[in-house]
């Protein structure tokens, strides 16, 4: 079992690793996208192109690598450098701090009531940022913390027009907390899917991975429905955190917010979570079912 699980986790992490170079080439997650960027051939056919100009190759409007004979824009300088006078326009280099309280919510469901959060603090330039990311759920019943409650400190590096790589550490919160090294990718996939994939190596020797995928559907320009799926996988069980090996949970949620302003949006939502494998067994041993559902109401804020 544990061998199989390790393979599953390694496969998950390997797929993350594979995403790195792909991200740099602006292609994840579907390799198919690599050459077309946007399935242009199909699109062009759809437009009833008259006497198709065969020499015309699309070459990819997004991503790809520079051809060997690409222009070098610096050649126009003939060795001159920019002015060194004071008060030069520097706005393109500034570090910009941002706090995003993506979820701060009251939850009520079949396992009682609790407070959930998902918060991201970033600061940095267009190329490099510090990311502080935390998520969790604290249940008022027995003051229990969701086993995925954690905080991460990560270095974000721009790896493509829509993608960034993440390297850093994750610290679990609560009983049986582990410290992990973290590496992952995040970004915006074609068709506007927000993706966060992170792999972890724990100080206790465990491997883990977490995947999050979400989408913002504009019901109106202010009423926004965000379905999200999250899954976690571990190579070995953790008795203290009541996590089994293999896929430990999958969570599907939908939150609908109303943007009173861009920065202030109350929301309501519904979360359905299913514990899997050994994690489900832990729950059953406590007399609980593996499924959990809760209604949530909260605020999305940023500044």
């Amino acid at each position: 079992m544990s061998t199989t699980t390790n393979i599953v986790v390694l496969a998950a992490i390997a797929s993350l690793a594979a995403a790195f170079p792909a991200a740099a080439q602006e292609a994840p997650p579907a390799p198919k996208e690599d050459h077309s960027g946007m399935d242009m051939s199909g699109d062009m056919q759809g437009m009833d192109m008259p006497a198709a100009p065969t020499k015309m190759e699309m070459g990819g409007m997004q991503g790809g690598k520079a051809p060997a004979d690409a222009r070098n824009s610096d050649d126009y300088s003939d060795g001159y450098r920019n002015s060194t006078l004071p008060n030069y326009e520097m706005a393109d280099q500034i570090s910009i701090p941002k706090v995003l309280v993506d979820e701060l919510e009251f939850a009520s469901g079949n396992e009682g009531q609790g407070i959930g959060w998902s918060v991201l603090l970033t600061n940095g330039t267009d190329s490099n940022k510090l990311w502080l990311r935390s998520q969790g759920l604290k249940n008022s019943k027995e003051e229990r913390l969701d086993p995925e409650s954690s905080a991460e400190a990560l270095w974000w590096h721009s790896a493509g027009p829509y993608w960034g790589t993440l390297v850093g550490v994750r610290q679990d919160i609560g009983k049986g907390a582990t410290t992990w090294l973290a590496a992952g990718v995040e970004g915006l996939a074609p068709y506007w899917f927000d993706v966060q994939l992170t792999g972890y190596v724990g100080t206790d020797g465990r491997l883990a991975a977490r995947a999050k995928l979400s989408y913002e559907a504009l019901l109106t320009n202010r009423l926004i429905l965000t379905p999200q799926v999250e899954a976690n996988v571990y190579s070995k069980q953790s008795r203290d955190r009541e996590l089994g090996s293999g896929f430990s949970n999958v969570e599907l949620s939908a939150r609908m917010r109303y943007e009173v302003s861009r920065k202030f949006a109350p929301y309501i939502g519904y979360v359905w979570e299913q514990a899997l494998g050994g994690s489900a067994d832990f729950r059953r041993s406590r007399g609980e079912g593996p499924g959990e559902h809760r209604f949530v109401a909260g605020l999305r804020l940023w500044w």
Binding site: S77, Y80, Q93
Partner: protein, 540 residues
């Protein structure tokens, strides 16, 4: 605010400080409380005026302008379109070190041109009101001066500090766009044209993570659009009696707003752009970009009021004024248009035009491919157009298919031919690039502070070719030297100082590098300039 002048500027009497003329000027820059939206805010005024006073110069004079900075921050004044020595050009960090708080900087330069120009802060204070018109009268009196001569400055005001606007865009680039396609639009489309067609319409945009409604970064969600510093409700009015010939000098002083201008009922004859006379062309509507000027003439047909209607390109709001025989008259105000989607040619250029993705401006011959820079393949650039369109006879997205005549660059022709008929000795190809999602803007994928300057050799005639790889229009402004726009065949067309490059378009202009020194060269959308769509030019 009215700068009506039936006579040449210097011959007319005082109009309360709204216009200044002569050769010696004292301009005091200071904060001024204003209220455009119901909230009190502090604007940046010149001599207590927003917009700043119109400066009336005369060709051949040497003017001295003492600019006193009474703000608590560095400021600057740039004379937009004026050919001045490099150290008088007013760009902090390039022309000089800026004007420190409490200091006075004395600008002094000869006036070697005529026409409509403007001046503005080369800092974020351009957004808070530091801009005004410049009208330069010819040394010799005009053959047939108009009976009425008004400046019409179109601008955008926000109650937010401009730095906040910039940070909002950097943190969420669609921050001010409340016109994005919704699920409801999709359902409606599906009902009208079928599910497959509705999906197809969206596929190109969504697959490439591009927004078909991304006309403007900043909308009426924060902007109030002003005409001569007056809100639409305030209704600035220029007086003109029946039979009088009227000249309106339109100045595009928006920091992030293109305006589509028309005066319903009055055909407008475009007689000049960017201070340069053009062969008169009569249209019903024209688009004016930040940085551009257009001189428009018409004869007042009757005693009715006529509305100057200037809607923002993204159709979220409008500026408005009136031309009428007497103040207090109001004409009907047209409805704002619907915001149409950008079209495939705005993303794919000639590819889409060839494919018939756009009607009316189809290109039958495939233009040569664009030569991308190596740096355009990096993370700061999200898209490249391999086969840009080259035609100038396109009024741009939102104005195509109008039932009336709309000005295009193909209509603008200098009457006197190429001012420097030398064949350009070399070509510089520059691509307008960016990352819409992250609000990064650049040239050839390189932001200002990651770039090296463009080197022009003294007195050389060279060609600059732009390819717009982005889906937004960019008004590109070269300081210190004229931009002589060419048509698609490389023939001289019109002299300008600010040239709009439409999405997925290639166009070229010629430069005579006759101005030694360091110059700014940038997109005149203020927040694109701040984000890095800016190069330095060194003539040495």
């Amino acid at each position: 605010m009215v700068s009506s002048l039936a006579l040449p500027a210097w011959a007319s009497g005082s109009d309360g400080g709204a216009a200044l003329s002569g050769t010696e000027f004292d301009l005091e820059i200071a904060g001024l409380p204003v209220n455009y939206t119901g909230k009190r805010r502090i604007a940046t005024a010149v001599n207590g005026r927003v917009p700043a006073p119109t400066l009336r110069f005369r060709e051949g004079d040497t003017v001295t302008l003492r600019v006193h900075n009474k703000l608590d921050e560095m400021t600057s004044v740039h004379w937009h379109g004026l050919i001045v020595p490099a150290e008088m050009d007013g760009v902090p960090g390039i022309s000089f070190g800026g004007i420190a708080p409490g200091e006075t900087f004395t600008y002094r330069f000869p006036i070697r041109q005529t026409g409509t120009f403007w001046y503005h802060a080369h800092t974020l204070a351009e957004q808070t009101g530091l801009f005004g018109a410049i009208v330069i009268e010819p040394r010799e009196s005009q053959v047939r001066p108009p009976d009425r001569d008004y400046v019409v400055m179109l601008s955008d005001w926000t109650d937010e500090p401009p730095l906040q606007v910039f940070l909002n865009l950097k943190k969420q680039s669609n921050y001010y766009n409340f016109g994005q396609p919704t699920v409801g639009d999709f359902v409606k489309d599906a009902g009208e044209v079928g599910l497959a067609a509705a999906i197809k319409k969206r596929q190109m945009w969504n697959a490439s993570r591009m927004n078909p409604t991304d006309y403007s970064d900043v909308s009426a969600a924060t902007y109030t659009y002003l005409l001569n510093g007056t809100t639409a409700a305030g209704n600035w009015t220029g007086v003109a009696s029946p039979g009088e010939r009227v000249r309106l000098r339109f100045v595009g002083a928006g920091t992030a707003t293109f305006f589509d201008v028309r005066i319903p009922g009055l055909p407008l004859t475009i007689v000049a752009t960017d201070g340069q006379n053009v062969e008169p062309v009569t249209v019903d509507e024209f688009r004016i970009a930040p940085g551009e000027t257009y001189d428009v003439e018409f004869t007042m047909p009757d005693a009715k009021p006529y509305t100057i209607f200037a809607q923002s390109m993204d159709r979220t709001g409008f500026a408005r004024g009136t031309i009428a025989p007497s103040p207090g008259m109001t004409g009907p105000i047209p409805a704002l248009d619907q915001r149409p989607w950008l079209e495939p040619i705005d993303m794919m250029g000639a590819m889409a035009a060839m494919a018939g993705g756009h009607t009316g401006h189809g290109i039958m011959e495939m233009p040569p491919p664009a030569r991308h820079a190596r740096t355009e393949y990096a993370a700061n650039n999200d898209m490249r157009v391999d086969y840009p369109r080259t035609n100038l006879d396109d009024p741009g997205a939102g104005l195509r298919g109008r039932p009336w005549r709309v000005l295009t660059y193909a209509d603008l022709k200098s009457p006197n031919g190429d001012p420097d008929p030398r064949e350009p000795g070399r070509d510089i190809e520059l691509h307008l690039t960016g990352n819409m999602e992250r609000f990064i803007w650049s040239l050839d994928g390189i932001k200002l502070n990651d770039s090296k300057p463009l080197h022009f050799r003294p007195n050389e005639r060279l060609r600059v070719t732009f390819v717009n790889d982005t889906m937004m229009s960019h008004p590109m402004h070269l300081h210190g030297m004229w931009s002589d726009l060419e048509d698609a065949a490389g023939m001289f067309q019109v002299r300008k100082h600010t040239i709009v490059v439409q999405p997925a378009q290639r166009l070229s202009f010629r430069v005579t590098a006759d101005a030694m020194g360091r110059w700014a060269f940038h997109c005149h959308l203020l927040y694109h300039m701040a984000a890095g769509m800016f190069r330095e030019v060194v003539v040495a």
